[in-house]
Assembly symmetry: C2
Homo-oligomer: 571 residues x 2
Amino acid sequence: MNLLRKILPAWLTDYRHKNLAPDLTAGVIFTVLIIPQSLAYALLAGLPPQAGLYISIFPVMVYAIWGSSMVQAVGPVAITAIMTFTILSPIALPGSPEYIALAASLSLFSGALLVIFGLLRLGFLSQLLSRPVISGFISGSSVLIIISQLKSLLGVSYEGDDALGLLSALLHQLPNSNSDTLLIGLPALAILIFARYGLVSILTHLGIFPSRAAFIVRLTPLLVLLIATAVVVHFNLDRPGGVTVVGKVAEGLPGFSFFLPNYHSIKMLLVPALLMAIIGMVQGISMAQALAIKRQERIDANAELVGLGASNLVAAFYGGMPVGGGVSRSAVNVASGAQTPLASIVSAIAMIGVVAGGAHWFARLPLAVLAANIVVAAISMVDIKAFRLAWAYDHADALSLLGAAIGVVVFGLEGGIILGISLSLAAFLFRASIPHVAVVGRILGTEHFRNVERHETETLPEVLLLRVDESLFFGNLNAIETRLTLELEKAPDIHEVVLIMSAVNMVDTTAMEVLFELNRDLALRNIRLHFAEIKGPVHDRLIHSPIWKSLSGQVFISANAAFEALSTPKS
Amino acid sequence: MNLLRKILPAWLTDYRHKNLAPDLTAGVIFTVLIIPQSLAYALLAGLPPQAGLYISIFPVMVYAIWGSSMVQAVGPVAITAIMTFTILSPIALPGSPEYIALAASLSLFSGALLVIFGLLRLGFLSQLLSRPVISGFISGSSVLIIISQLKSLLGVSYEGDDALGLLSALLHQLPNSNSDTLLIGLPALAILIFARYGLVSILTHLGIFPSRAAFIVRLTPLLVLLIATAVVVHFNLDRPGGVTVVGKVAEGLPGFSFFLPNYHSIKMLLVPALLMAIIGMVQGISMAQALAIKRQERIDANAELVGLGASNLVAAFYGGMPVGGGVSRSAVNVASGAQTPLASIVSAIAMIGVVAGGAHWFARLPLAVLAANIVVAAISMVDIKAFRLAWAYDHADALSLLGAAIGVVVFGLEGGIILGISLSLAAFLFRASIPHVAVVGRILGTEHFRNVERHETETLPEVLLLRVDESLFFGNLNAIETRLTLELEKAPDIHEVVLIMSAVNMVDTTAMEVLFELNRDLALRNIRLHFAEIKGPVHDRLIHSPIWKSLSGQVFISANAAFEALSTPKS
């Protein structure tokens, strides 16, 4: 039994019987609900539709065993699908055998990287991406997704090298839209948008329980697809020149297709796979965390990475499409009533039934309705609110969000993420280079020192107390020297300058040399330089540097100690 | 008279008679002493030797009028010369008419940029370069200079694309060295090295006044050159296959050669000219500042830029080689006894005499001895001490110094400076991403709070006082959360967490959101989150953010206020 406990996941060995019924029903309902999404995202990735069903089987089981979240559902998701498409479509024809092989390699590499990140506990690497950058990246990718789907939704055909080229080609081809496709696609789009943004509040107004209302909303895509397919079949709309449908879907279980990646594909796909792994990591962990908080559970970020990576490794050989932890997929899982990963295992088994026996059912699904599904999901991922919040809090962060979003649309995924990271680092450096410097005084009757411009304080005519609210480094020394010069010009009586270093967390080599020179220059003008409230780590460095020996003034433990010592007349 | 005061520089209108005699003699002596250097640096730049003399005339006069330093000597200097050579030699054949025209354009562009920087008061732009990066850049350039001169010094000929290629070609060609050249060059090198590193201390030991000893040392290059030339002439060593000499030097005053830069040269040279202007700016300002401090004078950095830029603009049309403010050139000026820029004007007039009448004197100067001069100057510019000091103070800064130096030698000037800047920014970001976080307690009997590991303090069993010594930004939140989790695990009794923000100078959007989530998660575990000592600018942002409304605890003005409030039992 102890051995079993070590091999099997905790949720299974500690399984509670009351969860069994909800997990079993949730698994079956989830499978049915998730079919449109799975087919759609496979098409979005440029792969045959069945790939979306295949990777809903074994990769899902692997995540159920190794992942750390109780209810996160992995599988084909919008971001990984559009990443797959934008990475691979410039190097191979979507749907071609070469393309399919490359997609499997991409899944393999990003899975391997995720497992390595998890085992080496490198989850902190995702820190390179600030939240505004992630948000901008997802919004930009969603715009890319929408642009890519307008083609199927409107029934036009055109080519374009990038997002802007596609859009202008679309505008030219718009008059040639297929009218049957429009008649199927646009109503479907309208219903799906209404279901997502209006239906819940109407249903709850009608007195329906919120969780039940959410379930009805999740049911809409399936209903819309069934009705649209019935229309297509009844009016025989999928005749040549009519509505494009999914077409032949391969039937039967996916084979285990083992392959070894070659040097060429490693060289070509390693950087994109790294980007994919990092985005997958950020998405997966934050999604798992959000779900865990709602259920008052905790997740282990590094275990989550191993689970996600292992799932992708299996996906490489059984289905050949990268998987991720998805927002809407997990929402469907929760709405279906899942309590533990057992629901996912049940759904994987149900999915085996679907692909083994029912794949021919999907042949006449209209692509326009699948596209409408994708567009609605993508619209919900464009996060205008995040931009508004960031703008209200900090313009620079809002700009890095916008930079990442526009960068993704204009320069592609890698360009966007690099632009976003560069902007966020530049914003950080820029802020550090214009430090807040305050002349401080003592608040009457206390030992506290505050900005003389914000508070009623007492000061000494001969003493300048200057607090620098930033680490001293090569980028901001000029600004600090300029401010000091200004203060000395305003008050020519000053003969004691006290630098209060309570907010100085680092003094780099350039700053140390500049302090040394400042001390010497001030001494020539008969002004002494003192330090107060130097932090431990800064102190440890400075005592071995030239400034320490040559300092004309003293080092005080606090601003108050400096104030007391310098307020008594010099002997 | 008032009008004259406005047009003429202050040093001239307020000229003191006692300076006249020293300035006149210094100007003449300086001219004679500086001739070998001027010829050598023109050759180093890949230009005809007389270019070095030409730009010692009008550009020097212009700087005397507009520059801000009393004794800085501008003219051909090592760094600008090697920069000219490395920028232009890949695009034109050194010494060719095209090359000469490009050198003039380079001078024009970098001069124009310097004037613009000065007028727009952009001197602070030089902050992009930390001192270790500048030091590494100069050391790396010096190594390039030495490698480029070994050819002339040893009398071998070879080609190479980069520094490493040149070195390996040199090693292959070493057995083919010209023996006459070696007999002239190596003794010259030995004498010059001895003069620079041994002579002063010997002379002062012999009782000679240090300033006089320095003057004698400065005389050595001229003496060595005279003797070597006498040897060449006497033994007719400059026969074909023998010692290479300067050869025909054009006689007469330089003409004013006006030109308008074309689009092609602007496109090709703008980035290198920018690099040259920035390096020239840093060099010129720091040199002028160092000289001013010794003389207890002050300089105006932006006026200095205008002076340096105007000097380069004139150099573009009268001589065609970029000028700079040089260490050794200024040292010669000071050693000659110069007191004001009048000395420079005198030397410019004397130089007119030299180029008008005496240029044929230089035809038989051996190149090997000029090369020896350059090598000795370059050796003195390799700053090992700066590396040792930086290493002792801060390893990361020392590595950015080393990166810039090695980068210059391996990847060229631009590659080196980019590598250096990247390393110094990366070091700054890396340090900010591993913040110092301290658990603090109250020092008994005071209101001061210090690290519990460094000081004897009192603490409260239910309260964790955590001081984060870094701005909170996306790059370090993980480290801070990890530390907090660790502290909470060590002390399960804690129900109050106080974040002391005295060293937090900024809270970015990601950090604000993480604090919001942290507050919520801690509340679920029945732990309240408090803030203390929030700085003004951080406070102003946070009050409008979600964390402010949802905060489970309080905001205290000081750590002590938090300590007092939380030490009384909760009501």
